[in-house]
């Protein structure tokens, strides 16, 4: 019997504001954090959380990770430093990102072009490196176990959490601080996503709707504290929920387009359910990847039907957090895992905002009309959280509360 892994703290910085509860409550209330076609974290003030030194030594994506982590460790009752309730050497840290410190890359490239190689910052590399999120959390809190980052585009946050689950089950760690962070609303990243035709021209994120025309760029971070169940129990921690399983796969089909029919995604869903030891009929909710791109929302719908069976897939509420915050890329899987956990705890699925016009073949219950109480969740409630990334990466989490 493998170790059970529980969630004891969560933190979020999102376009809907600072805090996990802020995200969930505002999304549930039908509020949208997208303004002028982007999901920026405009309420986030890095100087409120970071020291002067940390501010200089971090790209925005790592700053978002630090803020989300601060909320999560506080909720978990971890005070940091010498007082960590779990042995520091047994605490790992895995923080995913799609791109890493791209604002730093752009700024330093400008310095290089304008002033020459002798003027670029000695902090350029430690700011831009994709592992900077994990490195800075370990440094700030003294986590001395394995620390690294997952890089799988928009699946990176979910892959980080799945990796963390494996690290605890394997016995490498007793706790892992995990999640994802992204700050890619920069001129270069925005232009590149635009060039590939991925961005919504209307600036509206309306997943699964027939009028959907691409994703809306967002930024943010989500962090979860995972602990081995026996460790959390021994220290008397408040358990928020359980991470039951993780499944991942690659489409091996196309560099950016999802496999038609959602075969790769379906395999990840099936694997995640097997890993969790639950069946499709045990599910109460699906937090969809739901990007608002024409291709994803169709292939994800097909994948859910293929993996869960058409009847079960149609019976489940399926909603997309991206309708309220846009696409947080490498942070999406983590922020959405937190949203999923809170939906399960409250037994209420927030709606897919903006969904009005059904598309042919997209015939699941996308929760169009406001928040939906989860039915049949008398004991524990169980949900899927899907994440799929450019490159054909599929990562699925099974969460219970």
């Amino acid at each position: 019997m493998s170790r059970r892994v529980v969630i004891t703290g969560v933190g979020v910085v999102s376009p809907l504001g600072n805090g996990a509860t802020t995200l969930y409550e505002r999304w549930k209330a039908g509020e949208c954090g997208i303004e002028s076609g982007v999901g920026a974290c405009s309420d986030f003030e890095p100087a409120e959380v970071l020291t002067k030194k940390e501010l200089r030594r971090t790209d925005r994506f790592a700053q978002l990770a630090i803020a989300a982590c601060e909320e999560a460790v506080e909720q978990a009752g971890w005070t940091g430093g010498e007082e960590l309730p779990v042995q520091a050497e047994r605490i790992g840290c895995v923080i995913g990102t799609g791109i890493g410190g791209i604002a730093t890359i752009e700024t330093q490239h400008d310095v290089l072009n304008e002033s020459g190689p002798k003027r670029v910052s000695p902090l350029g590399i430690p700011l831009m490196m994709g592992n900077a999120g994990a490195a800075n959390l370990a440094l700030r809190h003294g986590f001395k176990g394995p620390a690294h980052s997952t890089v799988s585009a928009c699946a990176a946050g979910a892959d980080a959490i799945g990796t963390a689950l494996r690290m605890i089950r394997a016995g490498d760690c007793d706790a892992v601080v995990t999640g994802g962070a992204e700050a890619g609303i920069t001129p270069l990243a925005y232009a590149c996503f635009g060039a590939m035709g991925a961005l919504s021209e209307s600036g509206i994120s309306r997943p699964f709707d027939a009028r959907r025309d691409g994703f809306v760029m967002g930024e943010g971070a989500g962090v979860l504290i995972l602990e081995a169940a026996e460790v959390a129990e021994e220290r008397g921690a408040t358990v928020l929920g359980e991470l039951l399983g993780y499944g991942a796969s690659a489409d091996a089909f196309h560099l950016t387009a999802p496999e038609p029919g959602g075969g790769g995604a379906a395999r990840a869903i099936v694997r995640a359910l097997e890993d969790a030891g639950v069946s499709a009929s045990d599910l109460h909710y699906v937090n969809a990847h739901g990007t608002s791109t024409p291709l994803n929302d169709r292939s994800e719908t097909d994948a859910l039907k293929a993996a869960l069976g058409e009847e079960t897939a149609k019976s489940l509420p399926v909603s997309s957090t991206k309708s309220a915050v846009g696409h947080l890329l490498g942070a999406a899987g983590a922020v959405e895992a937190v949203a999923t956990l809170l939906a399960l705890r409250e037994r209420v699925a927030p709606p897919t905002l903006g969904y009005e016009v059904p598309d042919e073949g997209l015939d699941l219950d996308y929760v169009p009309d406001g928040p939906r109480p989860l039915e049949g969740a008398n004991g524990r409630a169980v949900a899927l959280s899907n994440s799929f990334g450019f490159g054909g990466h599929n990562a699925v989490l099974v969460i219970a509360a």
């Binding site: 030194k53 200089r56 002798k118």
Partner: protein, 81 residues
């Protein structure tokens, strides 16, 4: 380019260090870099500012010998003369 006197170099270096983390009043001649939490990466930034301001190039081996803010000021003044 301004002349590298004790006064001008001190102003430049103290201002540069104060931007890196410590409070300005902590940055005295006698303060050690260790006490100010100024590490090798910070000193590279200070060296870039000094080079831009006074044309004095400080290399890694120069920086390693520095313990205090005063050491850095003296080295730059000596190199500039």
């Amino acid at each position: 380019m301004p002349a590298a006197t004790q006064e001008t170099v001190e102003t430049t270096i103290v201002d540069a260090i104060a931007k890196l983390g410590p409070e300005p009043e902590q940055v005295t001649r006698d303060a050690t870099f260790e006490s100010l939490d100024i590490d090798s990466l910070d000193l590279v930034e200070v060296a870039q500012i000094v080079e831009e301001e006074f044309g004095v190039v400080l290399k890694g081996e120069d920086m390693e010998k520095l313990n205090t803010v005063g050491d850095a000021i003296d080295l730059v003044v000596a190199r500039a003369s």
